[in-house]
């Protein structure tokens, strides 16, 4: 099956986990990746610059009205929700926090499920709350593929456990196996 996008949600411990995934991807991997990493509203753009240096993908903070393109990785800007429009452009919102978070993983996942349906992969990584569990379920309902980092490989297992509870059919992978899985697509 041809997947058109990957959405990833991560929270506490996410920087390290995302780094492992980025470094594990083959140079030929070109499916667009969109990421919500929980962070302080006052964060600067360190993360996108750092990942951009590490990766063969173009890593950038998402801009509003930006079309989602191959070989790109988009990060939600601090203090904004990131959504995908059904024409596959990105949009931002400052609506209230969801699951105590802005950006919220559920907001990204739900809108991406509408946009890509069964051609979407959702991945929930390490974290200390339950953001992402509802959104991941929406991805599976749309026929998309759900992947969850195995709790024992997660720096903080609460978010993966909560996602597993909500999506029992999801594929559970050790962190280092996630990029290997993506490479085989």
């Amino acid at each position: 099956m041809d997947f058109e996008a990957v959405v990833i949600g991560s929270s506490a411990g996410g920087l390290k986990a995302l780094k492992t995934i980025i470094l594990g991807l083959d140079k030929t991997f070109s499916i667009p990746i969109i990421v919500v990493q929980h962070m302080s509203p006052h964060s600067d753009s360190f993360m996108s610059r750092y990942f951009n240096q590490l990766s063969h993908l173009q890593v950038k903070e998402a801009d509003e009205r930006e079309p989602v393109r191959p070989s790109h990785m988009y990060l939600a800007p601090p203090n904004y929700h990131l959504l995908v429009e059904e024409d596959k452009t990105l949009s931002l919102s400052v609506e209230e926090k969801v699951n105590y978070a802005r950006p919220s993983i559920d907001v990204l996942f739900e809108s991406a499920a509408f946009a890509w349906g069964s051609r979407l992969i959702g991945i929930v990584l390490t974290g200390a709350n339950n953001d992402g569990a509802t959104g991941l379920k929406k991805i599976t309902q749309a026929g998309g593929l759900a992947i969850i980092q195995s709790p024992e490989t997660a720096e903080v297992p609460i978010m993966p456990i909560s996602a597993i509870d909500n999506c029992p059919d999801a594929i559970i992978l050790k962190l280092e196996d996630i990029p290997l899985f993506l490479n085989k697509l």
């Binding site: 509003e64 203090n79 429009e85 059904e86 949009s91 739900e110 809108s111 309902q141 026929g143």
Partner: protein, 284 residues
Amino acid sequence: METPLNKDYNATNLTQNIEIELLIEAIYKRYGYDFRNYNKAHLKRRILFRTAALGLNSISELQHKVLHENDFFDLILKDFSINVTEMFRDPGFYATLRREVLPMLRTYPYVKIWLAGCSTGEEVYSFAIMIKEEGLYERTQIYATDFNPISLETARKGIYPISRIKDYTANYQMSEGKQSFSDYYVAHYESVIFNQDLRKNVVFAEHNLVTDSVFAEVHMVICRNVLIYFNKDLQNKVVRLFSESLVKGGFLGLGSKENLMFTDVVEQFTVVDGKEKIYKKKII
């Protein structure tokens, strides 16, 4: 690839998109509020949230209530409004205004500032405080506008939950505030009330950026995190309205993820601060 499961999902999704389009059209025809050029993902989220919260079976049922129950529309309007703002959001933006822009505005005998899409007023009180501290308040007129009369009512009152004050105080300090933030409000049980004199020179008024036109010539327009909800055509229409409202040499401040660069008016402005999205209308 379609599995039986996602075939149903796709059909539901298609139906919902049609219903959303019809609802937005119905709202426009019945109430005059035009959401047709708003980004759809956000509206869909709000509409599905409200439909589920009321236990309705479909968006069509929601539309029925919108058309037949006048009071019900207030709730939908609130759902579609951006009611979440914070005081001194993005402190760097305010610090840059203090350093780069207010010294220029100080050269005018009288200053008019338009805060467009002021929502529940947090930004209005932030501006009033900043302008007061910079010695400009007595000769400044602030127009604070929003399309939602209920938000404006909250803005007029200037009463906010005390739980937010800790964050606001931190923002204020980072924005290079000059006093103690608590000088500006009185705490009362679970709320704080901002000082009356902060709104002495503020006019609160209903104005819809989508359907209304220029109402005054101003020296600065601030419109933050409103354009992110609009499609490209509507963004262009609204920035043209801002440009027409500004005096030559006037300033425009947008949200940190908004940009004039891809709009029709880019040639009419120079960049004062690219990171904080502050622009100046050219003299010629």
